[in-house]
């Protein structure tokens, strides 16, 4: 009996067993898994959105500048605010989210003699949002730094103040550039919210744990859970690509007449994408 035959022979049996196990699992517990998937997705999306807002806010604070003409009190406030933001970023980026969840859910009531306590759902949303916010703060800061200085100077030259510059010119471009990072965070959140089982938040991983605790179908359940996670992350990443595409706008524009001053006749058709080039062929 050779090795290949052994694999081949037992393969059918194993796949058959796996199939029937999964079928049984799905009959028993499909609603629990699906509810878990739904709660995972909602938590990840909401926490990523809130985290983005926190990150945007912190990122802007970190890029505040002052000139030497400004009053001392303004310089001092900016300095203190920047330190607070840095400490927040370092603490929440530098500790595991699972322990942050423990701290918020068990630690706060412990330290405040039960006067400050969150229920499970609130605690989960707070932890994931704050954690994402810390990462996004750095992403936004990097995004702002990556915008060419000329853009801000152009805005300054027509008389915009710092706030207008940010809102009208810098942040829209930053946002476009950090979408891939937002996608990263969303996908990480879809998966990493699984650590919220530690405080008893009923998401997909909790559904898996509950089921295997009752039936010992450990691997089939893990496989099903993995596939559900993969489906969620792939859908998220496709939607983000679509968002990027929408933000880029059309590649071509309509030209009413030709340009009378230029030697060339303009670039009314400016094919860049692969699709366009193929069409031209």
């Amino acid at each position: 009996m050779n090795f290949l035959a052994l694999i081949g022979a037992s393969d059918n049996d194993i796949l058959g067993k796996l199939g029937s196990d999964i079928a049984k699992l799905w009959r028993d517990a499909a609603p629990q898994y699906l509810r878990g998937a739904r709660d995972t997705l909602i938590l990840a999306v909401v926490a990523t959105a809130v985290g983005c807002l926190i990150g945007l806010f912190c990122g802007i604070l970190q890029t505040l500048t002052y000139s030497k003409n400004d009053l001392f009190i303004k310089k001092a406030i900016i300095w203190v605010v920047k330190i607070i933001v840095r400490v927040y970023v370092e603490v929440f980026r530098g500790t595991p989210m699972i322990l942050q969840a423990v701290f918020i859910y068990f630690g706060l009531p412990y330290l405040t003699a039960n006067s400050l306590r969150f229920d499970v759902i609130t605690a989960a949303y707070v932890v994931v949002s704050i954690n994402t916010g810390a990462y996004m703060a750095e992403t936004v800061r990097g995004g702002i730094l990556s915008i060419d200085r000329g853009q801000t100077e152009g805005a300054m030259a027509i008389g915009m103040n710092h706030f207008q510059e940010m809102v009208k010119v810098v942040l829209p471009q930053t946002l476009r550039n950090i979408i891939p990072q937002i996608g990263n965070n969303l996908i990480i959140n879809v998966k990493d919210t699984s650590v919220m089982f530690i405080i008893g938040y009923a998401e997909l991983f909790a559904a898996h744990k509950a089921y295997v605790g009752a039936t010992y179908l450990y691997f089939p359940s893990a496989l099903v859970t993995m596939v559900i996670y993969l489906i969620m992350t792939v859908v998220c990443s496709l939607l983000l690509r679509l968002w990027e595409h929408l933000m880029d706008g059309p590649e071509n524009f309509n030209l009413a007449t030709t340009d009378s001053l230029a030697l060339t006749s303009g670039m009314n058709n400016y094919p860049r994408g692969r699709r366009k080039r193929r069409a031209a062929r």
């Binding site: 000139s67 030497k68 003409n69 400004d70 009053l71 000329g150 853009q151 100077e153 152009g154 805005a155 300054m156 030259a157 027509i158 008389g159 915009m160 103040n161 207008q164 009208k168 010119v169 829209p172 471009q173 476009r176 706008g249 071509n252 524009f253 309509n254 030209l255 009413a256 007449t257 030709t258 340009d259 009378s260 001053l261 230029a262 030697l263 060339t264 303009g266 670039m267 400016y270």
Partner: protein, 250 residues
Amino acid sequence: MSELILNINHLSKSFGKNEVLKDIDFTVSQGEVISIIGASGSGKSTLLRCINLLETPTSGEILYHGVNILDRHVNAPKYRSHVGMVFQSFNLFNNMTVLKNCMIGQTTVLGKNKAEAKENAMRYLENVGMAPYVNAKPKQLSGGQKQRVAIARAMAMDPEILLFDEPTSALDPEMVGEVLQVMKKLVDEGMTMLVVTHEMAFAKEVSSRVVYMNDGVICEEGTPEDIFDNPKREETKNFLARFRNTTQEV
């Protein structure tokens, strides 16, 4: 004598130990077209950037209608909205169309409504021959076209004075002409302009006054005829001689 817009006294600017501008005295009156020429690193661009407060001068004062804009109580953005600037690298807002680029300052800074801003923007875009491109994004335009939009954007703010920081230096040779043509048009309309440039033929033709800067100081200034045909200072002669040898007559 027409009204004095800018009066610069004892202006100095250092970057660390490097003194880029040394005790500059300089005035700009209504309707003047002043060309600032000089070698790279002579402080021309820094002077222009100081005037627009993109750099903070180390010492001295810049009086705008008699008010020192370096004073802490002066609202710098508000001052800048009266002083247009055209950059070497265009600095159009990449996230906006040509039309939006020319409207955004009017709506956010001057508080005009959209219809009014659009009408005004279209007028200036037509002036620079870019009206057909209102829906284009900056990345879809050539360098010369971008610079013409940048001029329209600055003009749409209705500035009292327009600063040009080497507006044609980043352009391919065949596009220089279209930008200079637009600038000439502005001169004919009586715009007050301060132009840092290496286009000597242009400077000679349109300027009311030419300033030669060397090593952080204003070395010589006068009418185009004074500077180009009868330069007094040795440095000016050398600079212009070098220029004639290295560039073709336009």
